[in-house]
Point group: C3
Chain length 211, copies 3
C-alpha cells in the first residue's frame, strides 16, 4: 500500500529535514553562533521533529540518529547556511518560507509514517502535527526564543489540516501520491497566506488593558 | 489488582490533564498568546508529563497522543481558559492551586501506572515525580520562564512523598482506593501549605553577599 | 566482549553522572536556587544525557530512572555542591572542567552502550555525541541560558572524535579497556585545550558588521 511507500516517505522526510535544517542554521547565524553551533542547530531543527515522532510510535532508533542520508542532509544544510548566508538577504523572511515548507512535508509525512506503524487515526493526526512543529520548537527553545508555534500567526492549524487530510484519505481508501502532494501544497499555501496577510488567530480579551 | 484499575488510572489522569492544561492556558494568556498558542500550551502542560512517563516505561504510543478523552480534556481546558479567563481574577494564584492539584494526581497516578508496567519500586517513585513535574516544566520552558520546580517553594518534595506512599503501600499490600486518594490529598495539602506559608527550602550560602 | 563489559560501562556512567551532576548543581547555585532546585538541576544534568540515550536505543526504563547507584550519585553531587560550594572558588571555571570530563566519559560510554544494543556504527557515533551533550543541554535550557554546545568554544567536536574512535576500534576489533580510557583522555584534553586556549570554531561572516 501507499502507506508503506518507502520512497515517498524518504522524499517527504528529506525535504523536511533539509529545509528545517536550513531554518535552524539561519537562526544560528542570526544568533552569531560558530560553525559547530550552526550545524548543531541545523541538526536539531532538521532531525528533531522526526526523532520525537519515532520515539512516540516506538520506531527506535529514530531515523534522526540512524539514517545517514537524513543526517547528511541536515549537516549539508548547516554548512550551506554557514558559507552562503550573506547572500540569503533578509534572513527572517527566508526562515519563514523554509519553515512553512518543512511544516507541510513533516505534517503529511509524519502522519503517513505513524499510519504505517498501525496507530489509530487520531494518533496519526497528532503525531503528524508533533512531527511538524517539534523540530522548530526545539530550535527555538535552544536558541532562547519563544517557539514559532506559540507566536501570533496561524502555524499549528495548517499542519493539523494536512495531517487530517491524509489520515482521512487513508481510512477512506482515497490515499495516493497526488493526494499526498496536494495536502503538502495546501499546508504550505495556508501557512504562507497566513504569514503574508499577517493573519492572526484571535487573542484573549485583555482586562484592564493599558493600551 | 488495584494497580491495574483502569478507571482509577483514568480518573487520576483526567484530573491531572485538565488542571495542568488550565495552568498552561493561563500562562499562555498571561504571555498574550493567541488562541492556538493557548491550546498548544494547554496541551503541553496537560499531556507533557504523562507523555514523558509513557516514553520512559515503554508504553508507546503515549496516552498523550492516543487517548482522545485526555486530548479532548486538554483542548477543552485551553478553550475554557481562552474564553473565561477574565473571570479567573488573580491568574498567578489560580495557576498555583491548579498546579498543586495536578502535581498531586500525577505523582500518584504516574507511580501507579509505572508499577503496572512491572518496573522496580525506585523506578516507580522516580517516574511518578517526573510525571508530576514534567508537564509544568515543559510549559515553563516553552513560555520562557524558569520552571516552577526550580523556584523557591517546596515543589518536588510533596510529589516525592506521594509517589513514595503509593509505592510502599503497593509493595506492602496495603494499596487501595482510599490510600490513593489520601496520598493525593496529602500532596495537595503539603504543596498548598508551602505556597501559603511561603515555605522555602534552604538556599545556598552566599559568599561575598552584598545584602 | 568488551562492548558488554558491565563494569566498564558502569564506571563510565558513574563518572559522567557525578561530574555532570556537580556541574548542574553549580549552575543552580549560581542561579541562587534552593536545595531542591540544586538537586533537581544536578539530576537533570547528570542523568539527562543517559536518559535520552536509552530512549533513543530502546533501553527502557532508562538507567536515569532505574539505576539507584546513578541516581544516588547525582543526588550526592547535588548535595555536595549545595553544602560545599563556597569552597569551590571560581564556579564558572570549575563547571567547565567538570563539563569536559563528563563530555569525555559520556561520549565514549554512550557509544559503547549503543553498540551493545546492536545499532549501526553511525548510530552509535551519533548516540554517543547526544549522550555527551544532552544532559548539559537540558541543564542550560532549564536554567535559562544558551546551551554550552551552541556557545563559542569547540564542544561537540571532541565528543564526536571520542565516539568515532571507540566505534571504529570496535568495528576493526581493536577495542579494549586501554583504547577506551585513551579515548576518554583525548576528548578531555581536546576540550580543555579549547577552553584554555580560547579556541573557537569559525564564526559566520557578518554583513554590515558594525565592529
Amino acid at each position: 500500500m501507499l502507506i508503506h511507500d518507502a520512497n515517498l516517505q524518504l522524499a517527504l522526510d528529506m525535504v523536511g529535514v533539509f529545509v528545517f535544517a536550513l531554518s535552524g542554521g539561519l537562526v544560528a547565524v542570526r544568533k552569531r553562533l560558530d560553525v559547530v553551533g550552526v550545524i548543531v542547530l541545523a541538526w536539531v531543527a532538521g532531525l528533531g521533529g522526526g526523532t520525537i515522532r519515532d520515539v512516540l510510535i516506538g520506531a527506535v532508533p529514530p531515523v534522526g540518529v540512524s539514517d545517514w542520508r537524513q543526517m547528511a542532509a541536515a549537516a549539508a544544510a548547516g554548512l550551506l547556511t554557514f558559507v552562503f548566508h550573506p547572500g540569503f538577504g533578509r534572513i527572517s523572511r527566508f526562515v519563514r518560507v523554509l519553515d512553512a515548507l518543512g511544516l507541510a512535508v513533516f505534517a503529511v509525512g509524519g502522519s503517513l509514517k505513524a499510519l504505517g506503524y498501525g496507530v489509530t487515526p487520531i494518533t496519526a493526526v497528532v503525531v503528524g502535527v508533533v512531527t511538524a512543529v517539534g523540530g522548530g520548537m526545539m530550535r527555538d527553545v535552544l536558541a532562547g526564543q519563544v517557539p514559532e508555534v506559540l507566536r501570533h500567526e496561524l502555524y499549528a492549524v495548517p499542519a493539523l489540516l494536512g495531517s487530517t487530510i491524509v489520515v482521512v484519505a487513508s481510512k477512506t481508501e482515497h490515499l495516493n501520491v497526488v493526494v499526498v502532494w496536494l495536502a503538502v501544497a495546501l499546508v504550505f499555501a495556508v501557512r504562507m497566506g497566513a504569514v503574508m496577510l499577517d493573519l492572526n488567530a484571535p487573542k484573549p480579551l485583555r482586562t484592564g488593558d493599558r493600551s
